[in-house]
């Protein structure tokens, strides 16, 4: 509980500060109002923008549904970055792992025929395995050759996106009659059920059961960290790999395990997008989620509850940003600025401490991952 309040406090303060700066940006970029000196209009723009930002994320069923839909992949891929952080690894490869997981889940999703209660879990698990194997490549490369995971995961992202592009042009995956790289549709039985499916005629409520998968994964992550030996070993390796090694932990196999887990989480993110949100795969399936996940993990300080809070916040901004764009002239790009500001405000104290090499209690709460020499 204490942890929850702490992470909420950090996030809330960062949010507040960035909304303030965001308001100034809206005013400054509202050229017409500035020119005529009409500050009342500028402020009403800010008010309307933030009002629709809130309404679009939490006000009413559709908004909540949109927030849930946005949160699901962010949370799962956020966990993928968090678990690697905990083990002292910087996983930039969530994008590639999502693609790998998404494609495996897709394949199971359109080839298998069976009842939904079997199909859906099978496809999600397939996605997790696909992502895990893909993430594991970076882990093995690091453990066996010492290749830095930042480099390998970035490269693996490119490999994955080209692989997906190629796969989507093969007859196995490409939808019949479509010239462009777009996959076959996942069969209805393998689609993650819609959360609000019990409401008739509300096809606009797109939130799906992938959210429960994400929550379950968050709980599993918490359990792993706090209740298992493996979690302890991962954390120990992350905090000080030399000490961990000295204590008899196998840091090399732990590196592989951490990347397998990370890939598994990201793979599930890909799976829930394919099986829930879209029902098919395209080259832009992973979008920017793999990179936004880094911000989510940083903001959440890699803790399970923190990652959850950060993912909900980013998901809400994504959903609210759309209605902000629809109701005002404020461009949706402001959301990207807001997210960047939030991360900056959270990271700034840690950054400053790192720059001046101040060692204090606070730094241990932040991210620890080995640098280039490590």
């Amino acid at each position: 509980m204490k942890e929850l309040i702490k992470s909420l406090r950090y996030t809330f303060l960062a949010l507040l500060a960035s909304l303030l700066v965001g308001a100034i940006i809206i005013v400054v970029t509202d050229i017409d109002a500035l020119k005529s000196g009409d500050f009342g209009k500028a402020f009403s723009t800010v008010f309307t923008a933030y009002k629709s930002l809130f309404q679009g994320s939490f006000w009413g069923l559709r908004s909540i549904s949109n927030t849930i839909t946005g949160t699901t992949p962010l949370l799962l891929s956020g966990l993928a970055v968090s678990v690697a952080f905990k083990a002292g690894l910087f996983n930039i490869g969530a994008t590639g792992q999502m693609l790998a997981g998404g494609m495996t889940a897709l394949w199971v999703g359109f080839t298998m025929t069976g009842p939904g209660w079997l199909q859906v879990p099978l496809a999600v698990i397939a996605g997790a395995i696909g992502g895990a194997l893909y993430g594991g490549i970076a882990g093995v490369l690091k453990a066996r050759t010492g290749a830095h995971e930042v480099i390998t995961t970035i490269m693996l992202n490119s490999i994955a996106s080209f692989l997906v592009l190629w796969l989507l042009k093969t007859t196995t995956f490409q939808r019949e009659g479509r010239p462009d790289p777009i996959s076959k549709l996942v069969v209805d039985e393998a689609r993650l059920p819609r959360l609000f499916g019990f409401l008739d005629g509300r096809s606009d409520l797109v939130a799906h059961a992938g959210f429960f998968v994400a929550l379950l994964a968050t709980f599993a992550y918490w359990y792993l960290l706090k209740r298992t030996t493996l979690g302890f070993e991962l954390r120990a390796t992350g905090l000080n790999s030399d000490a961990a090694k000295y204590a008899g932990m196998k840091s090399k196999s732990l590196t592989v395990v951490a990347m397998l887990l990370a890939g598994g989480f990201a793979g599930m993110a890909g799976a829930t997008e394919v099986l829930g949100t879209y029902g098919y795969a395209s080259t832009s399936l992973a979008g920017n989620i793999g990179f936004d996940a880094i911000a989510v993990a940083l903001l959440g300080q890699s803790s399970p509850i923190g990652t959850l809070v950060a993912a909900v916040l980013f998901g809400a901004l994504q959903a609210g940003g759309r209605s902000m764009q629809a109701n005002t002239d404020v461009p949706v790009d402001l959301i990207i600025v807001l997210r960047a500001l939030i991360v900056m405000f959270v990271a700034a104290p840690l950054l400053v401490k790192a720059m001046f090499r101040v060692k204090s209690q606070v730094t241990s709460q932040g991210q620890t991952f080995r640098g280039w020499g490590g």
């Binding site: 462009d180 994504q318 940003g321 629809a326």
Partner: protein, 358 residues
């Protein structure tokens, strides 16, 4: 991977930066943007589109992508000024935005919703089926099976590319011309195929032996950058084709082609470029001198045509196909000898009236 760098976002970024750095932007950058807002303040009482709301949803490229989103929006703006319709726009930041954006517009009561690119295909299909009283039009894609209130806006770009191939063959001094694409999908390869066939037609007519690099008509395969972003790829492919003797190159790869133009600039006039989609001597003024001509895909004309139909009360599932005959595609000449230009124009006429088959 964040590729959204438009005017508005640039303005936001600059504003954010100057706030944080404590530095104030100069007043001069505000002056350039003032002009845009005031133009629309005229009365459209006599115009037919009064009361019609036309809406556009972009793909993740954003409305300022210097590509099809931007050209489509130009079509929207043309409709606003010539028909008097009201227009609205929503940009998508990820694939997950498509359905909610379309939903927002359906709620808003748009009469026609224009979506841009095949990535919006499935979302547009779902929206069109859920809102049968709204017209939908999708740029660069089509629906199969057809939907009563949704149509595709597609382009016979092999026609102007054929002309460009003939033109390139007529202008090369080395006897070798090149082409390459972004990704091997039909909307791209159709340009390259038309280009190669145009060169072959020139060879047939003039008994010449001009060679085409980067596209094999028989195999229907060729050189592709594998993306639509990397200027370096465009540079490297242009360089390797130039090394093989090509002096005129036709890149069909969006921004990748800008890299080829850079290479052509550095070649000091040895290599020339044929632009694609828009008149690149205008849209890429920094490298205007390297373009001899551009193959035009007038998406704006297609969008305007679709909105005009809606204004006239027409709902159809028939695709709009841009051809040389209806002005949906064309060629813009920048630095072509008058005699050759006349020949190419005659070929264009021939294609339009069906006497020349591609």
């Amino acid at each position: 991977m964040i590729k959204r760098k438009g005017l508005k976002s640039a303005a936001l970024a600059i504003a954010a930066f100057s706030l944080i750095a404590g530095a104030c932007g100069s007043d001069s950058d505000t002056a350039t943007e003032e002009t845009t807002a005031e133009v629309t303040e005229e009365t459209y009482a006599a115009l037919p589109g009064e009361g019609i709301l036309a809406c556009q949803v972009t793909d993740t490229g954003g409305v300022d992508d210097k590509g099809f989103n931007q050209i489509s929006y130009k079509g929207m703006q043309d409709a606003e000024s010539t028909l008097g319709v009201e227009i609205d726009l929503l940009e998508s930041t990820s694939d997950a935005d498509y359905a909610p954006n379309l939903q927002n517009f359906a709620d808003k009561g748009c009469n026609i919703i224009v979506t841009v690119g095949f990535l919006l295909g499935d979302a547009t299909k779902a929206a069109a089926e859920a809102n049968p009283s709204t017209n939908y039009a999708i740029v660069d894609s089509a629906f199969d099976p057809p939907i009563a209130n949704a149509r595709g806006l597609v382009f016979a770009t092999d026609q102007p590319s054929f002309m460009a191939g003939y033109l390139a063959a007529g202008m090369t001094t080395t006897g070798v011309v090149g082409t390459f694409g972004g990704i091997n999908i039909p909307p791209v390869s159709i340009f390259m195929d038309g280009f190669a066939k145009g060169v072959a037609y020139y060879n047939e007519q003039k008994g010449a032996t001009v060679k085409v690099l980067g596209w094999d008509t028989a195999k229907q395969d060729g050189t592709f950058a594998g993306n639509f972003q990397s200027l370096d790829d465009g540079k490297n492919i242009a360089k390797s084709q130039a090394d093989e003797g090509a002096d005129i190159i036709f890149p069909v790869a969006g921004p990748v082609g800008l890299g080829s133009a850079q290479f052509a600039m550095e070649s000091g006039g040895k290599v020339k470029i044929i632009g694609v989609d828009v008149d690149m001597s205008v849209s890429n003024p920094d490298a205007a001198e390297v373009y001899i001509a551009s193959v035009l895909k007038n998406i704006d004309a297609a969008v305007l045509a679709a909105i005009t139909d809606t204004v006239n009360g027409v709902t159809t599932s028939d695709n709009y196909v841009g051809t040389l005959a209806n002005g949906g595609v064309g060629v813009a000449y920048t630095a072509v000898p008058a005699e050759l230009q006349a020949e190419v124009e005659a070929i264009g006429q021939g294609i339009a009236d069906g006497t020349i088959k591609i």
